[in-house]
């Protein structure tokens, strides 16, 4: 008996009209994970493209891996370089893995449990979207956040951020950012300050570390990191956001495969660079005079723009709208950084804000198209008359 036959035997009691029909989505999720199903086209086009949501979502995960691996290494690197002992890359990776992998596990277990429950309850198939969200959430948290907070944030994001709106494809806010924003406002002491960004900082007195943006916000002028450290990512910060280089690798994968919208990414970079440059000219405080290029490579800007702003569900959906949305994400990110020292990291709030405005942007883009059509009708009528 091969695996396929075993699966079919297992699936039998979950089939149509059978005893456990209600639980079919859960079983199907595992089955379709192993095998692309034997479904054939019933209506419409008889041939179909090789792509499906599983493929696109897995591509995003592949694009996330470089940043994740570097984040794991950097967790250990920051810790060991602060306590001052000798360490190897392996030590750093082991330390980081012990910190990060439990967070990923908690995120997936909590999130997928809710997803499966809703799929069974609503009678639809389990959507693949959470595979990405579930990995993103731990990647954008400070490393020392307690696991139960991860669990609560995930539950909040999936329940209130997504399922309350009708599930995958219907949510207004990016679920991963919803989780982070929830944690940010619910447990602020665990999400900001100089004791959360480096592993064990809250327990060991000798360890501390503030993000570059945090330093600038509190008025420190001498940032102890140079531009290459900012770019390669050997700095404190949320787990996977620090390395612009690794995020760029992910961005290339997304753009090259066509899965991520290059318009949103480029729009955001242009928006942020322009805003940063204008503030450079003004230069009234530390954050304003912080070089515009450095703005692009510190904090979560790169990570947020590449992996969060491009979430197709919560971003603008029209081509023109994507440009506008991207530009505004960049603009608001720098605005929030500069004008709101309580929130030295602006990208999370900028993207969430634009998530809310994305439907409005689309509305006006579509309205322009509708007006064009109506004007055409009026013109033709005039010609006839």
């Amino acid at each position: 008996m091969n695996i396929r036959e075993i699966l079919d035997t297992i699936k039998k009691p979950f089939g149509k009209g059978e005893k456990f029909e209600k639980f079919a989505p859960a079983v199907n999720a595992f089955d379709t994970f192993l095998y692309v199903p034997n479904h054939t086209t019933k209506h419409g086009s008889h041939i179909r493209d090789g792509v499906d949501l599983k493929r696109t979502m897995i591509t995003v995960i592949i694009a996330l891996l470089p940043a994740l691996f570097y984040g794991i290494y950097n967790t250990g690197f920051q810790y060991y370089s602060q306590i001052g002992t000798d360490f190897t890359t392996i030590d750093a990776v082991i330390h980081g893995s012990l910190k990060v992998l439990p967070m990923i596990a908690v995120s997936y277990i909590v999130g997928l449990t809710i997803e499966f429950a809703f799929a069974i309850f609503r009678g639809h198939e389990v959507n693949e979207g959470y595979l990405v969200t579930g990995l993103l959430i731990p990647m954008i948290m400070p490393v020392d956040i307690p696991l139960w907070m991860v669990a609560v944030s995930v539950a909040f994001a999936v329940l209130i951020g997504k399922e309350a709106f009708g599930g995958t494809g219907m949510n207004i806010l990016n679920p991963a950012l919803t989780a982070r924003a929830f944690a940010f406002f619910a447990y602020p002491t665990y999400m900001s300050g100089n004791k959360v960004w480096v592993s064990e900082a809250s327990k060991v007195d000798g360890i501390s570390g503030e993000t570059i943006l945090g330093m600038l916000a509190s008025g420190e002028t001498a940032v102890p990191y140079d531009i290459s450290q900012m770019f390669y990512g050997g700095i404190p910060g949320s787990i996977a956001e620090t390395s612009t280089l690794m995020v760029l690798v992910g961005a290339l994968i997304l753009i090259y495969t066509g899965v991520g919208s290059w318009r949103i990414m480029l729009g955001s970079v242009i928006g942020a660079a322009l805003t940063g440059w204008l503030f450079n000219l003004w230069g009234a405080n530390e954050l304003m005079s912080f070089n515009w290029f450095n703005h692009l490579i510190v904090g979560g800007f790169a990570f947020g723009v590449v992996f969060m702003a491009t979430d197709p569900v919560s971003a603008a959906q029209t081509t023109k709208g994507k440009w506008i949305y991207g530009l505004l994400v960049g603009l608001f990110c720098i605005l929030i950084r500069v004008f709101n020292p309580a929130y030295p990291e602006g990208v999370m709030l900028a993207i969430l804000l634009m998530n809310i405005f994305a439907p409005t942007i689309d509305h006006y883009v579509i309205e322009a198209n509708i007006n064009k059509r109506l004007n055409r009708k009026i013109k033709t009528n005039l010609k006839v008359a």
């Binding site: 692309v36 054939t40 419409g44 086009s45 008889h46 041939i47 792509v51 499906d52 959906q317």
Partner: protein
């Protein structure tokens, strides 16, 4: 006069089994069928009973909602069966062919002097009217309305579909006559779209507007052409006629007989000898598919029409009324282990570069009917626009069709689209959205609510 149109958004799908330039004469069929489902929204009112003798060109049924629109027998013979489904709905009328063909003779010798009304009456009575279809809605035209223009597309851009130029070159005179007839039906333009850089005889026809268009599917779709040449506003009607159907109309007036021949391209990866066959509309498939070297024991899908927008037909059944292509694909009801992992399954082309198939742009594929995934909610954006060369927001229109919001549908351009224009969206959707079905239902809603 000719104008150039360039279509940028579209997709070429390279399939094996494109038809070769060979036209074979198929043996005269033993039986033919008329299938009312070819005529969308027409409820047949039967004129004949089982066992009746019938000549070619004699009315078999007419439309219940408009008794002027008659559907005539393509052959002379005997009504063998009227197949009915649930609620006695007529599914198919099967006619056994006579050995000696007799047909009704119309006197159209002075057709060049016919008025518009005389032409319309001749088309209605002879059985040629169903060739004239109407946009919006993609249904048979209403003879009591006047169209603002008429469109004929002489290029087929769907994958491995019939090359209409090959078909028309056989019947140049009939085509020109047909165009002359159609020209009398409208005050507006008669637009013919030809493939760019093809010096076809169509450029020489007088009193028509010829448009050159690049061949990138769906540029051959007449809906795309209308959108770029003379877009439909609400309340307007445009008539469209298939290229070979124009020639059939021409033939009717030249000979006075309704003899609907059909040149059909048999194509698809499992076809041994993909080529053209000259046969009769509604012929039994069997003789043709046998000759084309198809192993009928295999699990194959037979499609009346192209692989993107055609309709499934059983191998024991009959050709459709309109299609010039009979496509054949392998059924893909097999599982693929871990088939969703990127860069593994490279046998299927993709608009995304998540497999290595894009490295071989000229490779021809043997696609089957597997869905390559499961249906999901709308998630990815922007992919529809890439294969949809109209100034319309396809995803927003689909969503409004699903929610049945008539005003929004109208505003977003429902009058300008037909299901076939959404075929590539069906194909490329990563959420496996059934776009053509949604649009058809949206159009039907418009017909019942707006008319």
């Amino acid at each position: 006069m000719s104008n150039d149109i360039r279509i940028k958004n579209g997709l070429t799908i390279n399939l094996k089994g494109a038809p070769e330039n060979i036209i074979k004469k198929a043996p005269f069929p033993k039986s033919v069928s008329l299938n009312p489902s070819d005529f969308h929204l027409i409820t047949p009112k039967m004129v004949v009973k089982v066992g009746d003798k019938i000549k070619s060109g004699e009315t078999v049924f007419y439309s219940k909602s408009n008794s002027d629109i008659k559907f005539c027998s393509p052959v002379s013979g005997k009504i063998a069966d009227i197949v009915r489904g649930a609620k006695r709905r007529i599914l198919e009328i099967i006619i056994d062919c006579d050995k000696e063909q007799k047909s009704i003779n119309h006197n159209f010798s002075k057709f060049k002097k016919f008025s518009r009304k005389e032409i319309i009456d001749s088309l209605l009575n002879s059985g040629c009217w169903p060739f004239i279809k109407q946009r919006p809605y993609d249904v048979i035209a209403n003879p009591h309305k006047e169209p603002k223009s008429i469109f004929v597309s002489t290029l087929n851009t769907a994958p491995i579909s019939a090359d209409l130029e090959i078909i028309l070159n056989e019947q140049k005179n009939e085509f020109k006559t047909g165009i002359g007839i159609l020209n009398k039906l409208t005050e507006g333009d008669l637009n013919i779209c030809v493939e760019k850089n093809h010096n076809s005889f169509i450029n020489e026809i007088d009193n028509v507007k010829v448009h050159n268009i690049n061949a990138l599917h769906p540029s051959g779709n007449v809906g795309v052409q209308i959108h770029h040449i003379d877009p439909i506003n609400s309340g307007e009607k445009v008539w469209v006629v298939g290229a070979e159907d124009v020639a059939l109309i021409g033939k009717l007036f030249l000979t006075g007989k309704f003899s609907p021949t059909r040149t059909i391209a048999v194509s698809g990866p499992p076809v041994k000898y993909p080529q053209y066959y000259k046969t009769i509309i509604g012929s039994k498939l069997f003789g043709i598919i046998e000759d084309a070297g198809i192993d009928t024991n295999l699990n194959l899908r037979y499609i009346n029409g192209d692989v993107l927008s055609g309709r499934i037909v059983d191998k024991d059944n009959y050709l459709g009324f309109y299609n010039n292509t009979l496509s054949i694909l392998r059924e893909g009801n097999n599982y693929k282990m871990f088939g969703w992992i990127p860069f593994i399954n490279n046998k299927v082309p993709s608009i995304y570069k998540t497999s290595f198939s894009w490295l071989f742009p000229n490779k021809k594929y043997d696609l089957d009917t597997n869905l390559n995934g499961e249906e999901r909610a709308f998630v990815v954006t922007g992919e529809m626009e890439n294969v949809f060369p109209m100034d319309i927001f396809p995803m927003q229109l689909l969503k409004e069709c699903m929610s049945g919001n008539i005003e929004k549908m109208e505003n977003l351009g429902i009058y300008e689209v037909a299901p076939e224009d959404f075929a590539l969206i069906d194909y490329s959707s990563s959420s496996k959205i059934e776009a053509q079905k949604i649009i058809r239902e949206g159009l039907d809603l418009m017909i019942s609510e707006v008319g």
